[in-house]
């Protein structure tokens, strides 16, 4: 009984280590694809269109409602101390440093990450990736690298859109509905947001974008090697769910780590 438990533990430990090793190699091969020729520029643009432009609507609505809620909640809290003039500063700092990068990454993981994982997973189970290998076409350069680059480019830009729309939502809720002085809202924002805060937000959005595309495309690529995933269409659906959950958790964990290190 005890030896069975130890065997299972050892087996799981080995599986996790092997999986981490494979995912690390996957990341390196995907980044190496940037330097391999011919570079697929049109595919990169197509992916930016799908991941970036395609996510604009969901980012817009999430940002507007998050900003508006922040405006109302912020006003409610600050009003207790007679500090509602600080609303602009509170809304903008929260959005730029935390909510903008995190929520954008979560939205991209749910919308584009899941699609990426399912597409690559289906290509894997229907031998399309093996077919690329057999034609001596590097599947990383051809398939994965454009998705990596597109996500790393799109997520920071989407985050910037999120921040702007979110702050506008906060302004409308605070100034429009709660009668906060517009001058003090803008003034608070201008004086409290520094380059360091913006840099932190940008670094976070790069890292989160990389995490989302790495985990989602990597899970799809190794769909047949994931323990307990099953076979065929079922394996793709399970692994897609797993990829979105895993990338979302990673974003939240790395958010804490980056804040702790860089703040």
């Amino acid at each position: 009984m005890q030896s069975n438990t130890i065997t299972r533990l050892g087996d799981t430990g080995l599986y996790v280590l092997t999986d981490l090793g494979k995912m690390t190699l996957f990341l390196l091969m995907s980044l190496r694809g940037v330097f391999r020729r011919p570079f697929r520029f049109i595919e990169l643009v197509r992916q930016i269109q799908f991941i970036g432009v395609g996510s604009l609507a969901v980012i817009f609505f999430t940002a507007a409602s998050t900003g508006a809620v922040l405006g109302l909640q912020g006003y409610y809290s600050l009003n207790k101390f007679g500090a509602e003039g600080m609303l602009g500063s509170a809304v903008s700092l929260t959005l730029i440093m935390e909510l903008g990068p995190v929520l954008t990454a979560l939205m991209v993981a749910g919308r584009a990450g899941s699609a990426m994982c399912a597409e690559i997973g289906i290509m894997r189970i229907s031998d399309q990736i093996d077919a690329l290998d057999c034609m001596a076409i590097d599947p990383f350069r051809y398939l994965i690298t454009p998705k990596f680059l597109a996500t790393i480019i799109s997520v920071p830009l989407l985050t910037a859109v999120f921040d702007v729309v979110g702050i506008a939502g906060g302004y409308l809720a605070g100034v429009g509905l709660m009668d906060v002085n517009p001058g003090s809202f803008i003034q608070g924002m201008q004086t409290s947001v520094t380059n360091h805060d913006i840099r932190l937000g940008v670094i976070k959005s790069f890292v989160f974008g990389l995490l989302v595309v790495w985990i989602c495309s990597g899970r799809g690529y190794f769909v047949q090697e994931i323990r307990g995933a099953g076979f065929g269409a079922e394996s793709v659906s399970r692994v897609t769910t797993q990829a979105v959950v895993l990338s979302s958790i990673s974003v939240l964990v790395f958010d804490y780590l980056l804040t702790a290190v860089l703040l």
Partner: protein, 260 residues
């Protein structure tokens, strides 16, 4: 006779769900002659597809050596493997066409990615191939809009684009009706006569494929038997071969279309 592919004492094992180890290939040695057709046959799970993957370097054997035109695949670096693979054309079981690309784009893919040909030259070559494989008029369709037989023809024409010296066919007629199966075999015979490539056909479709084969390799429980003719298989006194003959052989395929 020079050999295109050579297996020397190749061992490949897989762990089963209950923790035991199954040898799919157990010290297997054989050679596939250049310019000829070799059929690799055997029941499900007997290592046919594993053999193909090892030849292509998509899977590594546990031990043993595999040579393609005298170069060892089992020790090849990433770059060497890439160079070796340019000599192969592969027709996958499900054709493995790219779902998001049209028939034209699928066939043009290896030319666009692996050659420096202009778009005009590529268009000319693909149009010629479409006519050759009776696919003209279907170039703008997506794989999901094609029948099983058409998918195989597109897969075959894509695999032929870079003029490979070795063609590998993985269960080429699975899921096709008898008429379509005959058409596909006819196409194999015709293209091989035209291009002279070495052909390796992995199939459980034994009776129908015999008249295409110069050599038949039967895989069973990790071991293999090599035969030079269908008759040799029928005369074999080995019990597992006799059982295989009884379960798979009906009338041997005699179509004048593929007869050699």
């Amino acid at each position: 006779m020079t050999s295109a592919i050579e297996f020397k004492n190749v061992v490949k094992t897989f762990a089963k769900a209950n923790g035991s180890v199954q040898a799919v290939l157990d010290r297997v040695s054989f050679s596939i002659p250049a310019g000829k057709t070799t059929v690799v046959a055997g029941g499900s799970g007997q290592g046919k597809s594993v053999t193909l993957k090892i030849i292509l370097g998509l899977m590594q054997p546990d031990s043993g050596q595999v040579f393609v035109h005298g170069r060892e695949v089992t020790r090849a670096s990433g770059k060497e493997l890439e160079a070796l693979r340019t000599q192969f054309g592969v027709l996958f079981q499900g054709a493995a066409l790219f779902d998001s690309l049209t028939v034209f784009e699928n066939i043009a893919l290896p030319l666009r990615e692996r050659t420096r040909k202009s778009e005009q030259e590529i268009r000319r070559q693909v149009e010629k191939t479409l006519a050759q494989f009776e696919l003209t008029g279907h170039e703008d369709k997506y794989p999901a809009q094609l029948s099983g037989g058409m998918k195989k023809r597109v897969g075959l024409s894509r695999a032929m684009q870079l003029s490979p010296s070795i063609m590998l066919f993985d269960e080429p007629t699975t899921g096709l009706d008898p008429v379509m199966t005959q058409d596909i075999y006819h196409l194999f015979a015709k293209t091989q006569a035209e291009f002279g490539f070495t052909s390796v056909i992995v199939s459980h479709d034994i009776p129908k494929i015999f008249n295409l084969a110069d050599q038949v390799i039967i895989l069973n429980s990790g071991k293999m038997d090599v035969f030079d003719s269908p008759e040799q298989i029928q005369w074999s006194e080995k019990p597992h071969i006799q059982e295989f003959v009884q379960t798979t052989m009906g009338t041997i395929y005699q179509s004048h279309l593929v007869e050699k």
